[in-house]
Point group: C2
Chain length 472, copies 2
């Protein structure tokens, strides 16, 4: 990957002036000069290959997977270790340049846009698994040791996913973080090398940085809880005649105490898109994807209880995915839901809402949301981690159709407010980023916003860390 | 309870001057005058019965269950609702009087001592269960709706207990907090009435206040996760010939993925004390108290796996506690360990250490600790939530024996540093309070302490909230 950056960099010498002058025209000549003056120092820290002014590279790093418009940084740096991150941050601090941490760019609320320009810290070269302690059920990793989203990016957005109903979100699974603060100092939120399963030692900085979306510091290591691979795993798919029946089943399965590992809802629009995108052939009706983890006997019991419940709600017989290959195919289809939705209207863009409500409110909010989609003449695919009360509506729209964009915006605001009215949140896992700053104010109220702002001011007094995100 | 306070108050008018003059001699005439000047306003808020200057009342509120010496507040107030807490806090803020929140005084690190005098807010009159949502698995309560420790006090110290290995600590189970800040303003950390099971909405204030030990605000409501009552519960006791065998069994049970609900270790000194205090007759050797939750079939499987493991480590046959009464007796004995230890040397005081290490380090640290006890000529009872790597050494000592006190202090410091050297923490659940402020510095390092101090300064700029705790 670095050789690509390097090639980009070599091409860039003549282009740089154009780009910087564009920054100048955007109204901040001081910052442009500061960036210009600091480039050689950046290169001395992370090498020529580790600094890129290439337009393509900058644009890749100025956007995530959302519809928020690209806001490229002035420069992208590719540090290889925490010492380089710290040295680069010290330079940015000295020159008062904004710092935007970047994992893989898979965010959904515009969290990586360089709204005030500055220096994007791409952490993709920090990809090592550093300390694996299977006997203690923990591991310490650099930001991006594999998979899709980066792990430190997931920590930064308090992310979760299909397994959260059983194993918790990043909030419950991050034990310690190494963080580079805006002034370049390096802290370990729970103390260096600490990894007890419980602690009551001082303020919980770990969970303050989890979900801080890069606005308090750059996460350069995370210590995570591990879980044993279950003796047996089995997945199943169950179709229902109505949303209400599928969601009622979910609530009842949890109320029955079944330690279900995953329980994902897809409405008929979503399952249709997944069938087409992933060559599946499930009935086009409200659907649950389920997964059970445990010993053979415990699995049998979990499955029996769950089947009793789904059948009492008129659900279909389970379609099984027992072997690893079939299971993986099923979950890949679920994880590709975003791309499946996009594929339904080629050339379009998608926006994924993200709300979370108390379990018992789920049937009501999903039914209302589907009615709203029809009234708003929008294509929306509903998919969600319903075991947590968390769901998304993936809306596919023509970015050149201003009216449709406007309807999507209004619909999303209504959906978020519907969740707020039901004691819920405007974001269960995607974070606030740029897109939900006003909704956050509505959700927590001005006094909590003031406390959040005071914490931001305390840790990042010059507002250098990912400015303009979370707080207005 | 209030009539007692009222009686104390009536007796107190002549005594008050003496008490306040004692404050004066302690070097703060300004504060004494401020307290004097604000009393009638306090009474107008929470009634004559809600304000106490009684020496006995003040002394009851100046200490917890630890060996830290009593530091009585200047006055104790008994607000009945959040509005009264807020109004009282506003007065304290205006007069720059320290505020010390008080739940039930069952802390173990001196967290309630009024080291700078001030106003103790006893929250015992706030005892309501406000919103119970069994269908959503959550409840909102006032500070002290029952049980032993108060629930908001548990939130304030990031407490946990015997069930944490399966159900998590307060960190994982608090969903929202109502907090009165030092200036009297009232916030809801996740927004008013919010109770989604997941959220990524802004900074995680909830987990900043969990474990803040009253130094950031007064917790007046907490929203907690609930769990279904298991279909079946069964407890068992298993004896071992060595500490190593008992702790090895614990680690192996967890590694085998048994979803054990409780797994508590008691060394032979502790089980002996419990036998005597609670009229039990277990073998006087290292012991595990176990509890399994689940369906009948799942229980059978959990028990079989666990028995295989304990027997392979030379453990005894299980002694069962199947019916509710026997189980309750067993766990009452465990929870009375503190009093059992104290009863071994009447007239003595106890200190409970509290460390937590990665699971695999447990056998080593417990064995070393027992050797250290012998070398230090101390009576120590080891008991712990070993499934979390967390254990306590309850030391009983003669408070008039300065040499013994000194040996306890040195031993406790060595134990904490031993935990730190093993990647652990100096406190898994008791908190920092007064007693572990220096150890906290060693644990997290000066840069983290600076961040913690900056958060404290941001939220409580006048250092009115429980001053002198957590941070030096």
């Amino acid at each position: 990957m670095l050789s690509g950056c390097s090639a980009g960099l070599r091409l860039l010498v003549p282009r740089r002036c154009v780009l910087l002058s564009r920054s100048v025209t955007s109204g901040n000549p001081g910052r442009a000069a500061a960036v210009d003056g600091v480039l050689s120092a950046f290169r001395s820290i992370c090498g020529d290959d580790g600094v890129s002014l290439g337009e393509t590279v900058r644009e890749q790093h100025g956007k995530d997977e959302s519809v928020h418009r690209c806001r490229p940084p002035d420069v992208v740096v590719f540090p290889r270790c925490v010492e380089e991150v710290s040295a680069l941050a010290k330079l940015c601090h000295r020159h008062q340049l904004p710092i935007i941490p970047f994992g893989t760019g898979t965010g959904l609320e515009g969290g990586v846009g360089a709204v005030k320009g500055g220096v994007c810290f791409s952490l993709r070269n920090m990809d090592q698994i550093l300390d694996l302690h299977p006997e203690d059920f923990d591991v310490t990793v650099e930001p991006d040791p594999g998979a899709d989203a980066s792990l430190c990016g997931m920590a930064a957005t308090s992310a979760s996913g299909t397994n959260a109903v059983r194993y918790g979100t990043m909030r419950e699974n991050v034990m310690n973080l190494e963080v580079v603060l805006a002034d370049g100092s390096v802290i370990h939120t729970a103390g260096r090398n600490r990894r007890p399963r419980k602690t009551a030692a001082g303020y919980n900085l770990t969970n303050l940085f989890v979900g801080s979306e890069g606005t308090l510091g750059i996460i350069t290591k995370t210590t995570l809880r591990l879980y044993g691979v279950p003796e047996e795993m089995v997945s199943a798919v169950c179709s229902f005649s109505s949303v209400q029946a599928a969601v009622d089943s979910t609530v009842q399965i949890l109320q029955a105490g079944v330690p279900i590992a995953r329980i994902e809802f897809l409405d008929e629009v979503m399952i249709d898109a997944c069938n087409k995108f992933s060559s599946l052939s499930y009935p086009v009706s409200p659907t649950l994807f389920l997964e059970f983890h445990g010993s053979e006997r415990s699995l049998e019991e979990q499955v029996n209880t769950t089947e009793d419940i789904t059948q009492s709600n008129g659900g279909s017989d389970f379609q099984w995915a027992r072997d690893a290959e079939t299971r993986n195919r099923l979950w890949k289809a679920r994880h590709d839901a975003w791309y499946a939705a996009l594929a339904m209207r080629p050339g379009c863009k998608a926006y994924a809402t993200d709300v979370c409500v108390p379990l018992s409110r789920l049937p009501h909010i999903i039914v209302e949301t589907k009615e709203d989609l029809i009234e708003s003449r929008l294509t929306g695919h509903i998919v969600g981690h319903v075991g947590d009360g968390n769901f998304h509506c993936l809306m596919v729209m023509d970015p050149s159709d201003q009216d449709e964009l406007h309807r999507v915006h209004l619909f999303s605001q209504r959906l978020a407010r519907r969740a707020l009215a039901m004691d819920g949140t405007c974001t269960g896992e995607h974070g606030v980023g740029l897109g939900k700053r006003s909704l956050l104010c509505e959700e927590v109220g001005p006094s909590v916003i003031r406390v959040m702002q005071s914490l931001k001011d305390a840790i990042d007094p010059n507002n250098l860390m990912n400015p303009g995100k979370i707080l207005l």
